[in-house]
Symmetry: C4
């Protein structure tokens, strides 16, 4: 489940004693201490604000009026994120492992464009790269992973992964067949200008999005379209059924797993705060994993 | 679950004896007596009619033709609701608690605009406030809460609240990413005039609403759009799965909780009218909660 | 579950001996005999063809070309359905009970317009009444009711009826609130010309249909619209959850009910053809109800 | 479940000894040997590439620029598929059974158009037939069938088939009734030009696709449309409920069926790799069926 190597910092190790570097490590990479939690919250706010700044900058009249202020904020965020990146590299037990990890690369790439734009004029095409910063929001999800609720959801998604991909492949095959049929029946004169475009239309129809930018005009086309709609409407049941069945199973398993620390009996609901056999308080399941 | 403080009127208290004020209290705030139920029904009809009057008044030709009649009805409703508000304040055991409760404020705010419009001309902007009266319809839901059916639904929603909010956050992150991508790929010339507008488009697409006011025109844009659609179509399974799994669990628990009064065995279906072990009649579950 | 009174023809009764009338009764109203099944099949085909004729007649060029032929078919169907109606009245044990039953009235009303059009010119407005014939297709559903599969479905729908109506009411309240908000925010200049129209737009949006004939143009309107979409997308989970949970329960109950005739043990799947304890063949559950 | 006759090649048979023909048979029709799996993978890639070539050819500017290259690839694929077809016929134990089987006919029909186009000019109408090649992608699904995941899905679909068809019929009846109503209420002047077109509109609305090419303009029409939307939105629950309930049952049955080879106890999860009673490794369920 983990994307990057997560070296478990052991306090027994001589080389990695509770120095400043280790303290920084527990704050930046850890989630169990109050300081670590606070750092994560601040980081999330910074990411959200930097994404908001980018969004506002994309609205013409806002950018015309407040362009310089947004520019200043952009640089403030860039400097802060640069500092964070350098500290992360500094305090990582295995520096190169972090640098080449998924989030390590995202962290680097999302701060580079601002520096590049200093030397190379024409920041337009660089905007694309700066938006990668949005990906950092997924860190919130990483925090969230430690809640048992999210764990059940993620496990259910993981369990249903293979079944969902079989379903997705069937949808693609269906889209190719319906798309080809519509291309032949309706033809370029009704907007179905090529098979790929017809497949795009089929996906719009089967997923019940229905923009209406391309619509069938012939009677046969409308019959095929109605069939595609009814198919899409019915097979929507398949992913829902898969996920629901897996989730119900996961939730049952979760209840079985959870044991009381006092009497060690299982079978408690996920939201129980007290053991239903001996009345002892039940702690939140805390897995001693490190963060990021 | 309760939004406002609900003082339990105890008949033992000297100060709060079965006077007129207490009688009014049981009628207006209570639901267990026939008079209390009748009062609630009348109130619901009044609210529905006042909302209908507001709706009709918003249609130009109706307002042109029957304006004066609707105006008269408006004032009738205002006077009735004012009377109700004053009686509510009068008979509440803790008056200020009611006045500053959620429904107390809604009750006050929804009658004020009519009076303000007497002194200040230009009722147009006040219309907005008068519409708050619609919120009073939610009182019907409060009545409904006492049915065991609604209880199961509400508990299932409460149980799945945390899981649903994790899901909602993931949808928002997805919308930001897809929206930014589409802004870069399609650009202002195809209607994606800013990132917030692109995010609006992404929500329209992911929820499979698909207005068609903004549609992708480039090939890459259509590929990303198709991906967004398929994503939206598949993750629709997540809230459904969460709610279904929780509801199934709640319904099972509901069956376990319900005991026969005669033989006190549990395990009865929610709709059983007779105990399946001893044949004794089973009463509706009635919780002695006060209303509003 | 039955809409009309269904007198159980008892062969013991002197007055209602196995005469021609009783034979006709078993054929027309019964479903257990081969003749009764055959009659129903023929009737279904006739209804389907008469509906198809009406459909084709509504297409201008078909009606221009083949008008007289369709007209002839119309009269053929009218005469056949008239004959069926008269025989039904003749062989019913309680004639008036049939005549005033739901399907008795549908049968009468669906043949009347053709006769009325003989004396009164201007068949245009009568078309509306003739289309009631479509309702007879629901007889197919009556036939289908005897299959155990449909029984489970109908019972699950019946069980979830109360929960679904609570949900429907919440959706209506939501539509009123979102509709009023949009009317205030967007106003008549953006197509939201009245509150009822805004409510229509809200229903189009919440159900994720999304025609795109009315779309929000202001930023605040788009934010409210996005909220309405996400709400609609999430609460879609509620009816699905309700129905799924009820259906799962019904299917389990169905299995519990089904007993082997040989060893009378229960717990068989709905599709089992042999008892899994003694190996004896298991018959289809046949309830000795009369038809229509 | 099998569409075509699948003769089980028995190595005991004298006539069908492990000759070249039998070797080819195990490679082309079999899936258990590494060679058979490799052959299937190559075939899938070829089909995907030939479908991609057809798609690209349908885009005008691609066909204008790279027409000759695509033409060459088309012929390459045709020759390869012809060779495959001939070898299939050669090594089939029962040749005519293969030739007249579903995939035998698809194989033949999908290579014919290219040859016919040599003698008959005007390949436009032949394009339709060549697209049948897309159907061969379903062979991937055949491969996939051997995964236990897909087995559970297919069994759940099979189990829910009858219930789903009852649902589909109800949707069709609903569409006819709503369609007829809208034809009468809105009429040809608002785009509802005939009953079949109104039924098409109803299907677009009930499945929540909502193109917006035809929309109601009268108040009564919008009320009926809103009813149709809410109906469609609610009954979406039915297929989902059916499939979910069946799938949950199938998954439970799957767990019951799976036995440990060491201690032969059942009740293992589908993804367990080790027996939870004795710790012995558990193999993938492999059914010794032949392929294609």
């Amino acid at each position: 489940m983990s994307i990057e190597p997560q070296p478990q910092p052991s306090s027994e190790s001589n080389e990695f004693a509770p120095t400043l570097r280790f303290k920084l490590y527990t704050i930046i990479f850890g989630t169990s201490t109050p300081a670590g939690k606070r750092f994560d919250l601040v980081l999330i706010y910074l990411i959200v604000f930097s994404v908001l700044a980018l969004m506002l900058d994309s609205i013409r009249w806002v950018s015309d009026l407040y362009g310089p202020y947004i520019f200043a904020f952009e640089w403030l965020f860039t400097i802060l994120f640069t500092a964070e990146y350098l500290v992360r590299v500094y305090c990582s037990p295995k520096r190169w492992a972090y640098v080449f990890s998924f989030y390590g690369l995202v962290d680097l790439i999302s701060i580079l464009p601002s520096y590049v734009s200093l030397f190379v004029p024409g920041a337009n095409f660089l905007l694309a790269i700066r938006l990668l910063r949005v990906l950092r929001i997924f860190r919130i999800l990483k925090l969230v992973r430690y809640l048992s609720e999210a764990n059940v959801l993620i496990r259910a998604v993981m369990m249903s992964r293979r079944k969902i991909s079989i379903f997705a492949m069937s949808v693609l095959v269906l889209s190719v067949i319906f798309g080809s049929l519509m291309y032949i029946v309706e033809g370029p004169e009704n907007g179905f200008s090529s098979i790929p475009k017809s497949i795009y239309w089929t996906i719009v129809t089967i997923t019940t999005v229905g923009y209406g930018d391309i619509t069938p005009h012939t009677v046969l086309g409308q019959i095929i379209a109605a069939t595609a709609m009814l198919t899409g409407y019915s097979i929507l049941a398949v992913p829902t059924g898969i996920f629901t069945a897996e989730l119900a199973q996961e939730m049952q398993r979760d209840r079985r797993i959870r044991n009381c620390i006092n009497c060690s009996r299982s079978g408690h609901e996920a939201d129980s705060k007290f053991c239903r056999f001996c009345g002892a308080g039940m702690e939140e399941k805390s897995t001693p994993e490190s963060k990021d």
